[in-house]
């Protein structure tokens, strides 16, 4: 996978977190996997089409999701993972995806994203595609977020 194609996904997440005053964002582990699998508490799946066919998951713990939604609400404490958090984290992923699509457009790649699907559960195993996948961990003060990117073409 072309490393340049990772940048819009990372930049999208970083830009949006910084908008909500979450700064000091660092890149963590970077791993290649034979297929796209993830298994955190909270997984948001977004598909991309047109010039690049890909599936991406943003995976995190329940507490990280709560912290992100708290940051989106200006720091209002969020103590449980409820429907408001589900809605907030989907909205967050949708906005990240919007930034990502815009960044790719600047690279002359026209992409279209699907709406986010949120998958939560116990002992959850998620496998999105049989393509080689890059997992990038993003370390933030609100918790770690795994971005799994599987490009089919």
């Amino acid at each position: 996978m072309d490393v340049n194609k990772l940048t819009p996904f990372i930049d999208g997440l970083k830009t949006l977190l910084e908008q909500y005053e979450v700064t000091d964002i660092k890149k963590g582990k970077l791993e290649k996997k034979p297929n796209l699998n993830a298994g955190s508490d909270v997984n948001v799946i977004i598909g991309y089409q047109k010039d690049m066919k890909a599936n991406v998951t943003y995976s995190m713990s329940f507490s990280t999701a709560q912290n992100i939604v708290s940051a989106m609400m200006g720091g209002v404490p969020v103590t449980e993972f409820d429907e408001n958090v589900e809605s907030g984290i989907c909205e967050f992923a949708n906005m990240v995806s919007g930034y990502t699509v815009t960044s790719f457009f600047g690279m002359k790649l026209n992409l279209e994203n699907t709406p986010p699907t949120l998958v939560t559960g116990k002992k959850l195993f998620l496998m999105i595609g049989r393509v080689e996948t890059v997992m990038l961990e993003v370390v933030t003060p609100v918790g770690n977020i795994e971005i799994n990117i599987g490009v089919e073409q």
């Binding site: 796209l36 298994g39 997984n43 799946i45 977004i46 598909g47 991309y48 089409q49 066919k53 599936n55 429907e83 589900e86 809605s87 989907c90 279209e112 699907t114 709406p115 986010p116 699907t117 949120l118 998958v119 939560t120 559960g121 116990k122 002992k123 959850l124 195993f125 998620l126 496998m127 999105i128 595609g129 049989r130 393509v131 599987g150 089919e152």
Partner: protein, 161 residues
């Protein structure tokens, strides 16, 4: 989307599911229940998800219990599986990819303006899995098959019927 449009999308999924399950697994299926839910659905055990773009944006979720997924994989592959493994999952992904591709082709051929496009399928399994699309209406069709129920869930962004 009006109710006629919904029917024009739901029916090809029902017929494609029945035909493909019959062709690939030699298992007969028939329509059982239709339901409408809001926002979230719980997985029965093994679910395949595909994103959808076009006139309407949304997602397709095809869902069975673990025993039904194993039984379908056994019928398709002609071998026994004691538990969910990679072969079972790839079989279920392939089955659902074929169902969705067939349904979308039929829908697009009948209604050129829809121009639906699918993302690659993904599969997940586990316990108490909740699939959420906050604020959406989700249309659920249950098929009764010889090896257990097979659920078709279609959700569309911003659609109210």
């Amino acid at each position: 989307m009006d109710s006629q449009e919904l029917i024009s999308i739901l029916n090809p999924f029902i017929s494609a599911s029945i035909e493909v399950i019959q062709d690939m697994a030699e298992v007969s299926a028939k329509r059982s229940k239709i339901d409408k839910k809001f926002g979230s659905v719980y997985s029965s055990g093994v679910s395949t998800v595909l994103g959808l773009n076009g006139k309407y944006k949304g997602r397709i979720l095809l869902d069975t219990t673990v025993p039904t997924a194993i039984a379908l994989a056994e019928k398709i592959n002609g071998e026994e599986f004691k538990e969910i493994d990679e072969t079972v999952l790839y079989t279920i992904i392939e089955l659902n990819n074929i169902i969705s591709g067939k349904a979308i082709t039929e829908i697009n051929n009948a209604n050129k303006e829809y121009e639906f496009r699918l993302t690659p399928p993904g599969v997940f399994w586990g316990e108490e899995i909740k699939v959420s699309s906050p604020g959406w209406q989700v249309f659920c069709v249950e098929l009764a098959t010889d090896v257990g129920s097979f659920n078709i869930n279609l959700g569309f962004e911003g659609v109210e019927i």
